[in-house]
Amino acid sequence: MTLNTAATSAIPADPGPKVRVPQKMRHLELFLLLIACGINASAVVLVQLGALGAIDTTLLYLGVTLSVLVIALHFVLRFVAREADPFILPIATLLNGLGIAMIYRIDIANQESGWESAAVRQTAWSGLAIACAIAVLLIIRNHRVLFRYTYIFGFLGVLLLLLPLVPGLGREISGARVWISMGSFATFQPGEIAKIALAVFFAGYLVRNRDSLATVGKKFLGMRFPRLRDLGPILVVWALSMSVIIFQRDLGTALLYFGLFLVMLYLATARMSWVILGVGLFLGGAVLASQTLQYVNGRFTNWLDALNPAVYEARGGSFQLVQGLFGLAKGGLLGTGWGQGRPEITPVPQSDYIIASLGEELGLAGLFAILALYLLLVARGFRIGFAGQDDFGKLLAVGLAFVIALQCFIVIGGVTRVIPLTGLTTPFLAAGGSSLIANWIIVALLLRLSDTVRNQPRLVV
């Protein structure tokens, strides 16, 4: 990185614990963070100007709370992870803030305020999520400890995934049984946390077993296919994700887990045959599900035949999808401006369809900026994996970054009608506490990984 060039050439190769090293990375992070907070605050102000016609200072705390929290996180990093990547935190902050501004804008349209308001709740969840991120950074001082508990994380992941199926605890919302109720006021989606636990498990499992997965097998059609006993894990994960589709009616989550496992398997073994085998298995399963399960079949019809009036009018038809597309079309190149579109016409504009809402008000230019932010975030994650020295850290960093990338693809692809729509949250943007907590924990893990894998040059020639 250019900005730490001066730092590394100025300091000796092994700075002692007492030597005060100028924290170039953290200074850069603080600079970017302040810009991100400024953009977030101006988004809230613009929403008020656009939708209310005046600035309402009583609600400016929506922007301020998040800023205070992320700056607290920044100062924690100054003490516990000084060499962490300086770009991840500002990018996550900006995405989170844009999400809050959009949710606030929809609250204004729906005339909700106080604890009824989704934006206030989203701000509170952001606070909790950033507190979780700080806790992760403080507790996990070296990512290698996660390797020790590989199988515990695997067990935890499956447990969290199956929790909503427990009678009395699980709750069904709009057809999908992926929530658990916590008291009377909040629901939680344990599957979001499960994806982190499973990423840790896959990374640990593959580092332990990759030799037999990579080198043994029969050659067929120019590719080396694995032995039946090595196929075990992929079949177990496949069965798990298929059971998620069948019992929880959640196609998106199943695709997410299966994609995560395949990518990590490919990374660990560098064998294309695993990917071909896995994609084949998933497509086979999905086609079978679309033929036999009413719910999956409906999603396919809505996708392929969205603009057919009969499908549009039908109950559970493509009304929402098409309204989202209309919103995006209304936005055009530069958007209608904050607070001046009508994103509230689409059902659930603040969670599943927040991308369509943002596309309407910020236009193609704004939507591409958001996609560029995701791209940079994911690229940083891959970069951390590339720079890593140990295989577990490499796999974990790439796996976590890939989860964000795949989730974006599944949900944004669904809203823009590239693939069938499945219910997943847009990372950082969408209203939803469990998703925010999971994504901020991913941010914390990536920051921790980037700090421990950062390689101080031992010699500069």
Binding site: L46, G337, P457
Partner: protein, 182 residues
């Protein structure tokens, strides 16, 4: 007082501009990651002057060397004993601007390249951003070329596949040579 259409238009465009400036700010800060590390200007009287000729000669001989390397993956054992985690303790620079400098070996792998996150940073015109890697494989030190432009040379022949490194054998990257020693 409600803001005029024009004010809102200017604010709207200003916001999009700000968003993109933030993104380009990050990309600018990342430029060395995307386009590679800046080349350091060599001093004209540096000992590296005869190197371009040598590097070109080596590069032209590279295909033959690569073919040889793939035919016989291990270099002739006459060069010496293989460097292992036990018998190799230090990496010594034998030629180039920092000739004579050395650092101890640990069990961690050593990345070599122009990029700042390499363990051994070599900044000259002939080194790629991520050039090569020295790693322990079954307790033996192996050198792996990471698809570098100008190649990595072990005892004079270009490294095509991960190759065990003998003790005291010269590894040449750009204008710098080094050896693993006891």
């Amino acid at each position: 007082m409600s803001p005029s259409e024009l004010t809102l238009l200017v604010l709207r465009l200003g916001f999009l501009l700000l968003l993109w400036l933030f993104i380009f700010g990050i990309v600018y800060a990342l430029r060395s990651d995307l386009f590679g590390q800046r080349v350091r200007k060599m001093k004209t009287d540096a000992p590296a002057t005869p190197v371009p000729a040598a590097a070109f000669a080596a590069a032209s001989a590279a295909p033959a060397a690569a073919a040889r390397a793939s035919a016989a993956p291990t270099p002739p054992s006459s060069v010496g004993e293989r460097a292992t985690a036990q018998n190799a303790t230090r990496l010594v620079i034998t030629s180039g601007p920092k000739a004579g400098v050395e650092f101890p070996l640990t069990t961690e792998s050593i990345t070599i390249g122009r990029s700042n996150d390499s363990s051994l940073v070599i900044r000259d015109d002939y080194t790629s951003t991520h050039h090569a890697r020295l790693m322990l494989w079954n307790e033996e030190w192996m050198i792996q070329d990471l698809d570098s432009t100008n190649g990595t040379f072990l005892a004079g022949s270009r490294v095509a596949i991960p190759t065990p490194v003998p003790l005291n054998a010269t590894i040449k990257i750009g204008a710098t040579s080094f050896e693993l020693r006891r």
